[in-house]
Symmetry: C2
């Protein structure tokens, strides 16, 4: 029996794709990686996933696991060899259980993030993970990449939202680590080893997730801030005044918001241009009026202390959404403007003002005319510190010629601050070389020994991460 | 050069203890394990720890790492062979750095938890980990055992409070994984593998911890609750109304509080006896009056709904402390009453009422006259579900004869609910046999392969966990 015949016997012929247009599986979201799969296999149960893995083991076939294929680092598409099995988990899409009194839900890996959010909302609860791709990314992919997004300040990354996982191991065994326990000190933390391992240590097929009571009111404000130092002080003030009710703290540089103004002039911008604009979000468990009063008192204090020069508090859900829409339009405005080099870096919050000042200057010296699209999740120390090609040059050519040099300058600049070259997007194929060069040799050796222990034949997503 | 001479050359003769009274290092806190060390070695720096590990490697000597020696499962004392090196980290006790704007601090493993709390408080910040042994346990031990305590509901276990670790590996290399980053997706989650591994995978020598703004007011209330079902509903209501400001939710059974009344009659009990008494703690970022008003509104609703029959809100810090003191006096009252069998179990919160009803009944059937000391961190699903010997029998003999059978009944009863035999205390030597029997074979195989990968010679804390 050929491998393809074996796969058909496991999942049914209709779920083994070997011809036709497989580009949705083989090309990554950013269209930087175009691979070719031996086959696309779409199991419908965990048992089928395990059987597929055992079959691939018998034939020595590498497995690339894919969810919504929205990853940004090329971890979810096969290479060009035509020898890798593309394992799509989108048919594993059941909400298995919701336990309202325990504030947990158990879902299969292929559930689209938005459907997980909606299932929680239908039970009058909140699943807080939220990110731009939520309409198409899957929770399995979110966990495999330890996704971040806009609510990390309060709720943490995907890792912190996960209590337990079900995993198919490299040997094709099923580990049922699904648990709704908040405390369980019975051995090594296998869960967190699989979370964030980008499909290289095992295949997450289901997860038990944390839920939260829904807030009574979610309110947003924009504040004009003279400097990044002031933005960091505003963050400290907001954390002290609002406690855990502060659920968002985003920063947008003047040039970044200017791109939105230029390409999406129909979007209202409540504040005039300022060196930096901060978006604050508060999730209140009392009342809308309580949230607004807290925001107003906070912003008044910030104004008195010179931390902000102007502010606008949303007075309706529509206004809140419009403020977030501004923030989320930056990447789109960048694309319209032309080719750009994206970074997803993290720093200690305290180091961000100096890093940005020094690195902005260094970039302008090294690459005259580049335009700095600085924005991101300041509350988490995570910047999407993007570099737009100079206005007067061929952007595509600039990227082709200079991307590596720009990356090197930025990544070198992170090192003295203990920064990270990948805050929330992961390593995948894109940053594998950088990781090998920049991660501590001791950490790399530990990672390699774990990879060898859990996937001794190296069949799970080879060529990614390590 | 003998191993002892080698150790003296590394840490100085004064820090290698081979004679005299070493019982403080060799006997565990509960006095259930009495070992004998080849030597007690007390390095003062991470480099010295690494050199000690390399030397032990050369001589094939096992290493038992110890902090404050307050663990409850026998993981921190040597066995009786006289061949194990006892590595005490209490001299590694520097607060290395506090970064207020980043809300982080970096501390060495041997820092006593209380001194970590105090260093944070001196910077007007909060390090929320809090547990009974905080005056003598060390942060290294807290991390090695993923300690829990009273603030888990809001802040999580020690794991969730840790951003980065410095580890000496089994080979004697130093991995500097100290980072104050909130987001860092650059490879496998090594941090969480070492956290909770009880010294069996590597030696945590320092950590970067999360800090929080100090609350403006911390207020406590007691509520008399007719049933555990009502207590779970009160928890849901309190989480919805108070959001993340709900920082404590403890439950105490009537018999447990009765033991406190009997043995510590001087402690005021604000409420008359009730089937269950709940302690709620709220940490408010606005004002004392705000916290009290929220509490009163919450308790009024709970009273209307029949979830509680009576309540008392502390009107001063002294009253709050007195309420906590009641809760913390239960284990002491138990000791005065006589020998008892301790459990540290976790369940989904939603399963607790049924588990307790069924297991209480089963215990009384199997062991007539046993007294059930049910209390714990209900908000986390963690019960210290303790069993006091019958009043009319020789308690020590009951323990000697029945402890294993009582444990078996309780642990068997957990299984259908997906409960844990160790919520916050760990496995150590005490529960190693139970773990081998009760954990899934797939999980055990994964754990063993990780242990072999990171400690191939099996020299780190052998005989613990696995």
């Amino acid at each position: 029996m050929t491998p393809i015949e074996g796969l058909r016997a496991i999942v049914g012929a209709a779920n083994v794709l070997v011809g036709g247009d497989l580009s949705g599986y083989e090309i990554d979201w950013r269209k930087r990686y175009r691979g070719q799969a031996l086959a696309v296999v779409r199991p419908g149960t965990t048992a089928e996933v395990a059987a597929v893995v055992r079959l691939c083991n018998e034939h020595g076939l590498a497995i690339v696991t894919q969810g919504g294929n929205t990853g940004l680092v090329g971890a979810s598409v096969p290479d060009a060899s035509g020898t890798q099995m593309l394992l799509s988990l989108t048919r594993l899409n059941k909400i298995r259980a919701i336990d309202a009194a325990n504030l947990t839900m158990t879902v299969e890996a292929g559930c689209v993030l938005q459907s997980v959010q909606e299932a929680a909302a239908n039970a009058e609860l909140l699943f807080p993970l939220s990110l731009a791709a939520e309409g198409s990314c899957t929770i399995g992919g979110n966990l495999a990449t330890n996704a971040g997004g806009t609510q990390v300040l309060r709720f943490g990354n995907a890792r912190e939202l996960c209590l337990g996982v079900e995993v198919v191991t490299a040997a094709g065994d099923v580990w049922n680590g699904l648990t709704g326990l908040r405390k369980d000190n019975t051995g090594y933390d296998l869960r967190d080893l699989f979370v964030g391992s980008e499909g290289t240590l095992g295949i997450i097929t289901a997860a038990t997730l944390k839920l939260f009571p829904q807030p009574v009111a979610v309110t947003t404000a924009l504040a004009a801030v003279p400097t990044l130092e002031a933005a960091v002080q505003l963050l400290q003030l907001a954390r002290a005044r609002l406690g855990a009710a502060l659920t968002g703290f985003e920063v947008m540089g003047d040039y970044a918001l200017g791109l939105v103004r230029k390409h999406f002039p129909q979007l209202p911008q409540p504040l005039p241009p300022a060196p930096w604009t901060v978006l604050l979000e508060q999730s209140d468990s009392e009342a809308e009026a309580h949230a607004q009063a807290l925001f107003e008192a906070l912003l008044e204090t910030a104004l008195e202390r010179g931390l902000i020069s102007d502010a606008a508090v949303a007075s309706s859900l529509e206004q809140s959404n419009a403020m977030w829409h501004l923030r989320e339009s930056i990447p789109l405005a960048q694309s319209v403007e032309g080719p750009n080099i994206k970074h997803d870096i993290a720093l200690p919050v305290s180091a961000i003002p100096r890093f940005v000042a020094e690195t902005d200057a260094a970039l302008l010296r090294a690459f005259p005319g580049v335009r700095l699209v600085d924005f991101g999740h300041l509350g988490d120390g995570n910047l999407h510190y993007n570099v737009q090609a100079p206005a007067d040059c061929d952007g595509a050519r600039f990227l082709a010629e200079q991307e590596h040099a720009v990356n090197t300058l930025v990544y070198d600049a992170l090192a003295p601050f203990g920064g990270s070259i990948s805050a929330e997007h992961g390593i995948g194929a894109l940053k594998r070389g950088e990781l090998a060069q920049r991660k501590s040799p001791v950490a790399l050796a530990l990672m390699r020994s774990i990879k060898s222990a859990l996937d001794p034949r190296g069949l799970l997503n080879p060529g990614r991460v390590l």
